[in-house]
Every structure is written in C-alpha cells, then in structure tokens.
Symmetry: D2
Subunit: 289 residues, 4 copies
Amino acid sequence: MAGWTSSGAVASDTEPQLVDRGAKPSGTVVEVRGVQIGGRTVDLDSSPCAVESAEQLLATATAVRDSGAAILRGGAFKPRTSPYSFQGLKEEGLELLAWVRRETGMPVVTEVMDTRKVEEVSAHADMLQVGSRHMHSYPLLEEVGRSGMPVLLKRGMSATLDEFLFAAEYVLKQGNERVVLCERGIRTFEQSTRNTLDLNAVPMLKRRTHLPVIVDPSHGTGHWWMVPCLSRAAVAVGADGLLVEVHPDPDNALSDGPQSLKPERFDVMMQELRPVAIAVGREISAPRH
Amino acid sequence: MAGWTSSGAVASDTEPQLVDRGAKPSGTVVEVRGVQIGGRTVDLDSSPCAVESAEQLLATATAVRDSGAAILRGGAFKPRTSPYSFQGLKEEGLELLAWVRRETGMPVVTEVMDTRKVEEVSAHADMLQVGSRHMHSYPLLEEVGRSGMPVLLKRGMSATLDEFLFAAEYVLKQGNERVVLCERGIRTFEQSTRNTLDLNAVPMLKRRTHLPVIVDPSHGTGHWWMVPCLSRAAVAVGADGLLVEVHPDPDNALSDGPQSLKPERFDVMMQELRPVAIAVGREISAPRH
Amino acid sequence: MAGWTSSGAVASDTEPQLVDRGAKPSGTVVEVRGVQIGGRTVDLDSSPCAVESAEQLLATATAVRDSGAAILRGGAFKPRTSPYSFQGLKEEGLELLAWVRRETGMPVVTEVMDTRKVEEVSAHADMLQVGSRHMHSYPLLEEVGRSGMPVLLKRGMSATLDEFLFAAEYVLKQGNERVVLCERGIRTFEQSTRNTLDLNAVPMLKRRTHLPVIVDPSHGTGHWWMVPCLSRAAVAVGADGLLVEVHPDPDNALSDGPQSLKPERFDVMMQELRPVAIAVGREISAPRH
Amino acid sequence: MAGWTSSGAVASDTEPQLVDRGAKPSGTVVEVRGVQIGGRTVDLDSSPCAVESAEQLLATATAVRDSGAAILRGGAFKPRTSPYSFQGLKEEGLELLAWVRRETGMPVVTEVMDTRKVEEVSAHADMLQVGSRHMHSYPLLEEVGRSGMPVLLKRGMSATLDEFLFAAEYVLKQGNERVVLCERGIRTFEQSTRNTLDLNAVPMLKRRTHLPVIVDPSHGTGHWWMVPCLSRAAVAVGADGLLVEVHPDPDNALSDGPQSLKPERFDVMMQELRPVAIAVGREISAPRH
C-alpha cells in the first residue's frame, strides 16, 4: 500500500512517493470528459472568475470555446477574503454551470471548499478545483481523492513545491491520480503585481512529478494586460495548459475584474500563442470559428 | 445584520466590521471554562503538539498545570505536510483529551480541520483551534462560528493582518465573538528559524481589534531553546497569552520534538516570565506547587 | 591568518570564523568613546534620522541624553530611494554632528556609504554605520574594517543571518572586531508595517556570535506608536541596545517622521523600559535629569 | 534640471522621472561597442561567472561567440558572501578581459563594486555592471552615471520595481541614459531554486520605463538545466536580452558552477531560442559557425 513497504515499515515521510516522476516516467495525461491535459496539446481553460448570471456565463463560454478554449471554469462557491464580498451563486451557480455544460459541450471545472459539498459539486461538474486557500486542507484533499473526479489543485499562496507535491500525494493516496497542478503566483514582498507568478515552478515540477502542470497568469499577475505575455512565457517554459480569466464586462465583474480579459482580447491572445507553442514543439487546439 | 446597514446597502468589503476595536473599545475577554483570556492575566496554554498516549498526556498536563499553565492543548487530528507522517490519534485522541480534562480540571483546546467534525470535536473539547493551514477556509470558519464554542484562530503562514482579521470576522458574523487570535510566525526567506515570529503583529492587532491576541513561540521559531526568550518578548510586547509546546521526551516525540520544551524547562521559563509580566503591568497565574 | 589553516589550505567558506561565538565565548564588549555596548547595560542610541539643522540636532541630543540615551546617531549622508528626496546635509551635517558631540559630550555614530568618505567621516564621528543598503558592499566593509573605528552594521533588507554574520566577518578579517550588529526589520509580504522586525534574530545571533546585537524598532516597524512596545520586547529578548529615532517635530521631519518619537514620549519609554531590563537581569543607564 | 520644476519647486520624490516610459515612448536602445540592446534583436550576453584563467576565458568566449552571443561578461572583482571564497582575479582579471576583448572582438561587461575603481574598470571594459548587492548603493550609481559608460544594472535581491527604477534614475540623473535593467531573481520563501526568477517584472518594467530589460536565468534559478526553458520564457515574455552563464567545466568552476551551462548546451539552447524569438516578432543574432 502507498507509503508502506511490503515489510510493513512506514515509508519515508520526507519525499512524496506516488506523484514522483520516477513512478511514471512517461507522464500522466489527465482526461476531463474528452479533453486531455498533459499531452502534446497545451490546453486553455478559461473562465469568468465567478458565475454571475446565465447570460454572462453562456456568452463567455461560447466566445472562449470559439477561440479555442477547451474547458470552462466557473466559480459557484467563491472563497473571498471578506465575508461581505460576493460569495458566489452557490447551488444556483452549480445549476448554471451544468446548464452551460450541456449548451456548449464544454467540460466544466469548479471549486469545492467543503468536504460536505464534494458529492454535490461532483454531480454538476467534470473536474473539482481545490483552490490556493485549501491546498493545505488535508481532509478536503482526501475527500476529492475518494471522489475519483479529476482534480485541479492550485498551489498555496506560499506553499513550497515540496508542500505542493505532498498535497497532490494526499489525493493520489486515495487511489485517484487524475490530478493537474496549477501554478498561480506566490506571495512575495513585490506589490506591483497581485502575486509573483513563479514560472520556475513549471520545469521544477515537471522534473519531479509525472502530473501535468498548468499556469494561471490571471491570478499570478492580477493585471489583464500582463496575461498575454505571461501566457506566452508559460507555454514557452513548458506548461501543459493555461487557466485564463475572461469576462465580457470586466469593469462590472463581481470578482477579479482587473485581471480578466475581454473575449476579443482572449481571441487575439490565442492566435499569438499558437506560434509560440509550435516553437517549443507543442500545439494549441484549433478555434472553432 | 452584520455587514448590512439598516437601509439594506451592503457594508464595505474592505474593512472588517465586527472585530474592529471601535466596535468594542474596552476589549473582549474570552472565557474558556473558567479561564479568562484577554484580561490582566497573561495566560499560558501548553501542550504536547500531538496526543500520543494517556501517560504522555497526563504527565505533561499535570506538570504544566503545576507550573501555572491554564489551558491544555493537544492535537487529536494533526495536519501534516506528508500523508506518511503521524496524523494524530484522531477519535481516540479526543477521548484521551476528554479524560485528561476530567483528571486535571484543565480546559482543553484541540484542532478541527473538517466541517463534518466540528460537532464531535466540540463535544470533547472546551475550545476549537483553527490552524494556520485552515485560516483561509471560510466554510470551516463559519461552522466553528455557528458552534458557539470559543475559537483559537491561528494566523495563516503568509496571511496579512487584514486577512487574519477578516478570517475572524467570518466567525463573528455567525454571532460568535469568542475568538482568540494567535500569531505563530510567518513564512519569509530566512531559514535558520522554522518561521519568523512576527511580534509586530501583536500591537498592530491590539490596536485594530478588540479580540485577545496570543503568541506561539514554539511554531514561531522551531527551536525549543529560543522559546523562553521569545516568550519574554511576547509578554513584553503585550500578548494576552502564550501557546507553548511541552513534551516529556522531545527526542522521541512523534511531532515537533525540536521545538518542545521539557516540563522542567517550562517551569523555569514560567518563573522567569513573572517579573517581565509585572514590569509591563500584567501578571501570570500562580503555579500550583 | 584568518581563513587559512597553518598548512596553507583555505578555510571553509561556508562558516564565518572570526565572529563565531566559539572564538570568544565570553562575548565582545564594544567601547565607543566611553560607552560600552554588549555589557550588562542595555544601551540606548537615539537619533533624528537625518541631521537637519543645528537647533534640531542639539535640542534632540540634549533631550535624549537627559532621558538616558548614551550615543547620538545622526545622518549626514542619507541613502534615499529617490534621488529627489532630501539626501542629507553631507559635509555640513558632519560638522554639525562634531559640534553637537562637543556640546553634549555624547559619542556620535553616522552612516558612511562610499569607500572614499570613510576617512573623512571617521574624523568627525566615533562610530561608523554601514546601513542596510550596504551590508553586502564588501569593499566598504573592508574599508571600515581597516579604519579601526567601531562599526554599527545593520542587517540587509533581506539578508539571511548567515549573510549578516559573513558581512561582519569581512570587517573582522581586517583586524577590527569592534562591530555591533543591528536587527532593523526584514522585507516580507506583510505591508501594514514598514518592515517586519525579526526579534528571533537576536537570540539566534547571540548564540552564533560573540558580537553585541542591538535592535532598531523605528525602521523595523515604521510606526512611532509601535516603538515603545517593540523596544520592551527587544530588551526582553536579550538585545544589547536599542536604536530609536526621535524628532522634536515629526510632522515636519525631512525623513522618516512617521516612525520618530517626540522627546517627551522617548522619555516615558525609557522609564517603562527600566523594569523590563531589570526583569531580565539587565539595566538601563540612568537619566541625567 | 531633473527633479526640479522651472519654478524651483522640488519634483515629486514618489515617481522616477527620467526613466519613465512617457519621457521616451519609443524606447531606448543602448549601444555597447556596436551591439545594440533594446532593438528588434534579443541579445545574448554570456559569461563565465568569474574570470579564472586566460585559457578558460578565451575558450568560453570563442565558443559562445560562435553560438551567437554578442557580449562577453566576466567577473574580475567578485562579490562573495564569504570573505574566504574566491574573490576574483581583480586587476589581473581586468587585463585578461581586455585581452580577450581584443582577441575575439566581443564587447566586454564586468562588475564594479567600489567608487574608487570605476575609472580603472572603465578603461578595460565596454560596459559596467552594478550587481544586485549594490543596486541600493547610490554613490556607486552616481559614479557609474558620471562615467558615461553603458551600465548593466541588476535588480537587488529584494528590490521592488519602484526601487529598481529609482536606482536607474540615479544613473540617468548624471546625464547617462545608457542603462540596461536586468531581472535576476528575487528572494522568496521557496528554496528549491536559488532565487525566484520574476518574469512578471519584464512586462511591468517595459510598461513603466523606456530602458531595455534583460533576464539572467542562471542566477534566477541556480540550476543549469532550468536555464534553457526559462530563457525561452524570458524571450517569450518580451525580454530584450539574456545573460547566461557558460563554463567549459562547471564541476570545477571557482564560482557558480551548478548554474553554468557547458558551451555545447549553450549552443543547443541558442538554436531552440530562435523559433521562440520569431514567434514573438523578434530575432536572435546568427551564430558565426
């Protein structure tokens, strides 16, 4: 059993085991309802940060799908620093996500923050996100592990890469290796960006683990105008995918407007990304328009 | 209702409301089964990091009580970076804590990490700890808020003081203002100490909130030999209490041995703390030996 | 010779040698024109951040001397982030310092930033300060080492304690062991204080080196109202001295007003510090009023 | 005059003036003996970290020149944390650099750490480097400004981008706008890389200033195997050049071996960079073999 040698002695607790690259040198491809993450194609997951209404969600989903985005992310339960900030549409948001999934055919990923909600969220989505604030929440990691669902695991705000890999290990230890790691910026002294997107993490993680690694330049920088060039950098450094926030009307977004691209800018970004992907031997899925 | 003005307009989400010093200028005293935190007496909460056995727990509890410790902390559910590290005795650990509580008369505080466990843990303990890894877990904060139990809220590893206060606000918003804040060191570039104990946080928090603020020099430094002098500094800077790890046999502790004091050193430390407390107009409860 | 064994092999470059506690277990007392730093008495060095005028400097010096301050610090050459900020009175500031030294009898410490100025500054002051911005400037450290003057070495903004000790080693390697280390806050993600005063550094440095260690709570916090309680904490944690900014009119200070105490508050602070010093077996020099 | 309005009022000290993008929207191209930095071509500056011997230097220079490197960097005066580490060949190193410059025709950049050495170093090199440890050393910045030489200014270990721009402002204020900024990694809690290369800095700096911005992935990561992919990312994000350490025998390098590429790996890296540069509308100078 994981973590235990056949003689019953406990395995070392200083190195993750199941996520280690040596355990699967060829690398893991995580499939999310037909979309493969970790293969030759660099996947674009795109989203409004929060699900606000049916129109907003469908408009965004259709636009990003037509630009080539493969997976739709939308927040139904939103972790917000202040209890007075918009907390998401919750159950209603889940219903909207499931509806848009049917309308667009796109697989859907959404965050779960509470062990009690894992089952319900699993019934409405194709992939569960464990956000930065919960990367260290081991009961939650075990519960999403037991669900068997694909898991999008975001790096904690100041998690070392060791801690990040151990967090994934908690999921794999439940028999679920459908885990995608997401670098989303770390907390440093620098305040001109919301976080410091740590692209060093991508090659370091790819060397140490067989799991796919994607990058979230929207949270990583906090500025929409930085997202395209950091996205190019992320593809160039070897990321297996991108998670980019898109909103039809960023100025009036209920959450994270300043870091959201408009759909038309997202489309331009996608076109600019293709040659970079090709330059490093990867490709980006074709737009449907 | 909290966060909403009587006209129905939403309150600002950039400032916490209920925890604000202005809401209760005289300061809150949190009572935990007869022990008052936040008054003139600086409270000592002491603990083995993890509950390992009945003997270990009772021996430690009796010793620290006789040295003047008021509250016993013990970990039944232990959040550990590696899933292969000792995870605590769990339900059995809760039973042991409840037993030692009866034997010694000391109130007991223990950590809860899972919303589904709040009720069970509340039945065995006098105070619930929300640890650093879960400070950003809003569903958990709401659940411990609803429990009505006193809450020991530890600062997240890289949480700003704003985020720390907002985390407490989540608890108070449920109608529970029995919250004690605990500074336990932040994550910095400096690696000679486990964390960087941030004593600046104490006066800054005391100015901004009416809640009591205590300090954990054991996690804050990671070195047992640093605990006595940082404890003196914490009392001098105005902390309302200390959370200190004590273990009868640190070399063989299942968790956090290097930062645990032996009971006899803890006793010396208590004696050295008294004149410091008096020098700043506070006192420390008398030893019972 | 320092760093070389008798056989000519180079000494390890991973550990400082001359500053090591083992090289002088009893500890070094640095004498600055009659004032001893590192002995039983906790020294108070006090200063306006910048020398602005003869009146301001003499008024401050007289006031802090009467409250018990032993050494006067004043900035003649001021390192400022912006070239458009007040850069100090330079040579004129040195003359003013030398004049106030004569008037008050207090030894004077001032910063030197340029190897070419070491001789001139040495002629006007009793102690040379190497500031945070120059802690890594090895040619400057060697030059102040060669001067034979007492050196006040401030920790770099993000210097590890290893780097800090090696910086001191550069001075001692020139045959000058009159070095006083000063913790002044490190750079972290936390923005509510100007820096994060790292009091853990005090016991860690005292264990590793025989050099005296003092604390600058003014730069360490950036808020004058935090200075008294962090000063108490610094004394309680074992600091050999304090460096505190005082200004007769903080609102109109040309530099660092928000972190400067008024002389009358400094006097109150000194009175509050005495019992804390006594509580930890130290003393603070008596006021002269 | 810079920083003063015509009415004599002092300019704001909260924003740099001369380096501001608005002062020269088209961007500055810095010419270093025929090589242009900041134009369409992404320049490769390559170097052994320290100059060790004539053979090592010439072999490295010839190899990297043949792979397309435009400028040679070599350390004659080496700032080392420990005074017992190799400190560079100093004056002899300068002579060697000047000799290799003649032999290869490559312009040479080397570090200066002492105001007293600016003239001498200027006589032997084509560009002066101000290293991370001296970014805050304003007298040095002013002296290199007055020299009129092109300046390679590296970001301080924990310098904010504001401070970085102000450091450049000190140089420009002396009438010298031949400044190239270099991102080289910042200090964070993450310890698996030597520093955290902050690629967010590139677009943020390019937006705020007209000066060219290059990237040093060798110091930024500390691992030679990470250099190629971070170099690709740096080009993709918009860097105007790269500074890459190359050593013919990294295992026996006197400084920074673990982060140095062998010449043959550097050549492969250059070939891989070309399509990435083209993908973002740039080019890389052709190899001469």
